[in-house]
Symmetry: C2
Subunit: 251 residues, 2 copies
Amino acid sequence: MAHPKPIAPPRIPCQHCPLRRRQTFRDFNSEELAFVSRFKIAEMLAEPGMSIIVEGEQNPSLYTVLSGWGFRHKILEDGRRQILNYVLPGDMIGLQGNVMAEMQHSVEALTRVTLCTFEREKFHTLFRDHPSLAFDITWIASREESMLDEHLLSVGRRSARERAAYLLAFLDTRSRAAMEGNTGDHQLPLTQQHVADTLGLSLVHTNKTLRKLIDGGLIRWRDRGTQVIDQEGLYRVAGWRPPAESERPFI
Amino acid sequence: MAHPKPIAPPRIPCQHCPLRRRQTFRDFNSEELAFVSRFKIAEMLAEPGMSIIVEGEQNPSLYTVLSGWGFRHKILEDGRRQILNYVLPGDMIGLQGNVMAEMQHSVEALTRVTLCTFEREKFHTLFRDHPSLAFDITWIASREESMLDEHLLSVGRRSARERAAYLLAFLDTRSRAAMEGNTGDHQLPLTQQHVADTLGLSLVHTNKTLRKLIDGGLIRWRDRGTQVIDQEGLYRVAGWRPPAESERPFI
DNA sequence: CGTCCGTTTGAAGTAGTTCAATTCGAGTGG
DNA sequence: CCACTCGAATTGAACTACTTCAAACGGACG
């Protein structure tokens, strides 16, 4: 699983970054934009199944996802895998390795992923000269923590059915916010193995649990492409509702 | 479960903060120290069982734990509870509510806890004028995330026995680092109900699992006070080892 | 001395795992 | 166009790790 490869130019200038236009994301002021433009080095491409970051890595690049899906995970020595969270457009990757000694988890591409790479050396400059962006980074870290809290609650205390409903509702909601525009057939690019490794369940039981959600008309399942049909229904089953999220920072 | 109450003065001046002296924590330079001294408002005291912060709170205080144990948790509507992590001396509480709209979890005191309170209004000043401290806050958030990742792996993929061993080894290690000096009888102030709610297990099964660890000579259990006897043994059972942690920032 | 909280134990039940095949569709080479 | 392969989903059946119910025990404390 090699690292992502650089895309040939033309690279997108930050002024025209597609994410900025989406109303989910807060816009930069001109001063911030000027800095971020210099902060950005290149674009990278990761194909499905490629590792974007590997646990133990010492000085990983710092990325923001421009398009596509990935997931963060950890693996035990005997191969048991736990998916910790998913990364979608606007999410940062590699922050941990830029703040602490080394990465404690891996990140893998689920679909084809395009990434914005930043210059590690300028990371301290960001904190020194751009407090509003530094605050945004803390905001982003805090949001990640709150998602993890909810996942831990889910894996620790919800039943298989509740967990599955929660996960799909959660991902569908995030995906709709981050992708924006794709209102039509809105697919989650997961296999049942991914779902199982996220929920902490076996593949077989995950299959049987999902089947019930399918038969109940809550979701549709095609190969590597789930659709949520009845979002409200999933919320009800999960006993969960997405937190109101207003405009959100990204870098 | 009311809020923590202010302690009568004398309050400890930051110059003489007991945490600063411990080698686990990095020291401030004089400029940082001057700011933190103005940032600090008061000390608070929370008795065992008291809520320090409640989910949904909009503008919680920002605290650092000076002494004692607490835990972060979430509760489902029907009462199922998941403990997310524990807070020990040097840990921040309430950061989430200062960055995002509202707190997504609660914090409760496990033992008597003393807290340092900061002035919320100066939080932005910290980012503006003290980038090194802003960086520390990101560091702290990032460390919290990495602990949560490991817990999620544990709850999702480890067996009951492995989970229990992991949790006790984890807490013992953190506690030794944060308490420092208390080398003798080093107790973890948990009930089996806390352990159960952390591991995502029932109380009964937790009891039976702990009993095996006790009978195996790995730990000792007194009422509300566990002792780790064979740390190395727990590491082996858990298939886990604490990450090397050098000096660590705190505020 | 009684009460309360935390721990302990046994027994019955069930949600989830593991093992073992089978199906299905898409892609590949002949 | 067909035979082959391969990853993903599906299904049944046996097993077991964990839950739930129910009761009792022990120590601390007023």
